[in-house]
């Protein structure tokens, strides 16, 4: 979490902190295009929100940071992952 400046340089990114989100358990559907190819991948994460929010560009593209991962792809080497808010499912809310 220490290299925001390097990671997001020139990406029109604002990072804020929302205390009300800290520790909330969620599942999230993730995925991204694969570098250099024409395919992408889908994956699922499960963990707790750190409280960090990221907004990129205008209109804002909203992301939440997920940590304490209890479900992630095999060999996933990272402690945190940013997930699109649109595909975040709160596990402490009743299913609709």
């Amino acid at each position: 979490m220490s290299n925001d400046a390097q990671q997001f340089a020139d990406q029109d990114v604002r990072i804020t902190f929302d205390e009300t989100l800290v520790g909330r358990p969620v599942e999230a559907d993730g995925g991204a295009p694969i570098a250099g190819g024409q395919a992408g991948y889908r994956t699922t994460f499960k963990g707790r929100l750190t409280g960090r929010r990221l907004a990129q560009g205008d209109p804002a593209w909203l992301w939440l940071e997920l940590g304490d991962l209890v479900e992630a792809p095999q060999d996933f080497e990272h402690a945190h992952v940013w997930v699109d808010e649109a595909y975040v499912y709160f596990l402490d809310e009743k299913r609709s």
């Binding site: 979490m1 290299n3 925001d4 390097q6 990671q7 020139d10 990406q11 029109d12 990114v13 999230a28 559907d29 993730g30 995925g31 991204a32 295009p33 694969i34 570098a35 250099g36 190819g37 024409q38 395919a39 992408g40 991948y41 889908r42 994956t43 994460f45 990129q56 560009g57 209109p59 804002a60 593209w61 909203l62 792809p73 095999q74 060999d75 996933f76 080497e77 990272h78 945190h80 992952v81 940013w82 997930v83 699109d84 649109a86 595909y87 499912y89 609709s96």
Partner: protein, 368 residues
């Protein structure tokens, strides 16, 4: 409303003649399908903004006012980290395995540049391509991966409809709630990054979610003929989203040896492999995929380590045109490819088969 079951709401709302959407990476296929009455959607991931501008202009010149679209793989997650940290995570066992493959199979080192890490600037890259789609007022933007909800209003302001591919019912629910114009329910049998739920299970569930809303549903995954088109419409879909079937058309830029292998492949031949990207991609079998399944081969690493490990050897394979080692994403609908033919002919045949299927159903009911 038309009595023709093939004239669906997709035709009414988009001006296409038949409810067949073709996803392809070759602009010639897009123009051919659109001019044959369907809707072509260009897969543009990996394009630069300049290339995309140029491709859209080329398509517009050939299709006029007919509907077409651009598909981008908008991300749904990303990680922080720099390239040097990640390099150190690649185990020596994996490096040795790849070196052995190169030596034992005479795979040369590539002369050209090897691709870079995509996650650097991922969000900005996606935005830049979206700006091109809106600047060019492309009729349809399709998000092939993440949710397009964040960009829906801006797209509509430019006259662009917003479509989204989903692999799970909960993703469909989110997109429908967000007012996405078309949700494409992509079943397990599809090529590339397919979902985990079968098409026959996923489509009716998503159709039920969309009832009473303005969102249309397309069926995807395993669709290559008119019977499947008729089945999709019967399940409540407004049409079909197809990909694999176009790889072996005359207009497709897919190499001829791959087209031939597509013709020969059976549904069970295409498999999900993590050998290229670290993520399961359904694709044609190849020596590359097989090498990672041999006894003694290590398990492929995860994204982004696996592509960092294998980028060089794959570039060498491509440069040396080692056909047996090359592959293409393909779905189980590969079984519907029997010959190389013009894209328009594929459209016409699919329509004819679907009409026959509907006639059979009607005849059966009348005959009872």
């Amino acid at each position: 409303m038309s009595d023709d079951p093939l004239h669906t709401r997709l035709c009414d709302e988009y001006g296409c003649e038949v409810p067949i959407v073709a996803f392809a990476h070759t602009k010639d296929v897009i123009a051919a399908v659109t001019n044959a009455g369907g809707i072509g959607v260009l897969g543009a991931v990996g394009s630069t903004p300049e290339q995309l501008h140029s491709d859209i202009a080329w398509i517009k010149e050939r299709v006029g006012d007919r509907p077409f679209g651009v598909d981008l793989l908008v991300p749904a997650s990303f990680v922080e980290g720099n390239h040097e940290d990640l390099e150190s995570m690649i185990p020596q066992e994996h490096r040795d395995f790849v070196s052995r493959l190169m030596t034992e199979n005479n795979i040369p080192k590539p002369k050209g540049p090897v691709r870079g890490a995509l996650e650097d600037g991922l969000l900005k890259q996606s935005r830049a391509l979206l700006e091109v789609v809106f600047d060019e007022q492309v009729p349809i933007f399709a998000s092939g991966l993440g949710s397009p909800a964040f960009i829906k209003d801006e797209a509509h302001a430019h006259g662009t409809k917003v479509w989204g591919l989903v692999g799970l019912p909960r993703q469909a629910r989110r997109q429908i709630e967000a007012g996405v114009d078309v949700v494409i329910a992509q079943g397990y049998d599809s090529g590339g990054h397919s979902g985990t739920v079968g098409t026959f299970t996923l489509v009716p569930e998503v159709v039920a979610m969309a009832e009473g809303t303005d969102t249309l549903v397309l069926a995807a995954g395993g669709v290559s003929n008119g019977r499947q088109l008729a089945a999709s419409i019967t399940m409540g879909a407004a049409g079909v989203w197809t990909g694999t079937i176009w790889l072996a058309t005359h207009e497709s830029a897919t190499e001829m040896f791959l087209k031939q292998r597509l013709i020969e492949a059976r549904a069970e031949d295409v498999y999900q492999s993590r050998a290229t990207s670290g993520k399961p991609i359904r694709q044609l079998p190849s020596k590359w995929g097989d090498a990672w399944k041999q006894p003694g081969a290590p398990d492929p690493l995860q994204m982004p380590l696996q592509p960092m490990l294998v980028d060089e050897i794959l570039a060498g394979i491509r440069e040396a045109h080692m056909d047996d080692w090359m592959t293409t994403p393909a779905g189980q609908s590969v079984v519907g490819i029997h010959e190389i033919k013009p894209a328009a002919e594929v459209v016409y045949q699919m329509v004819e088969e679907a009409q026959d299927a509907f006639d059979r159903i009607t005849g059966a009911v009348v005959g009872v």
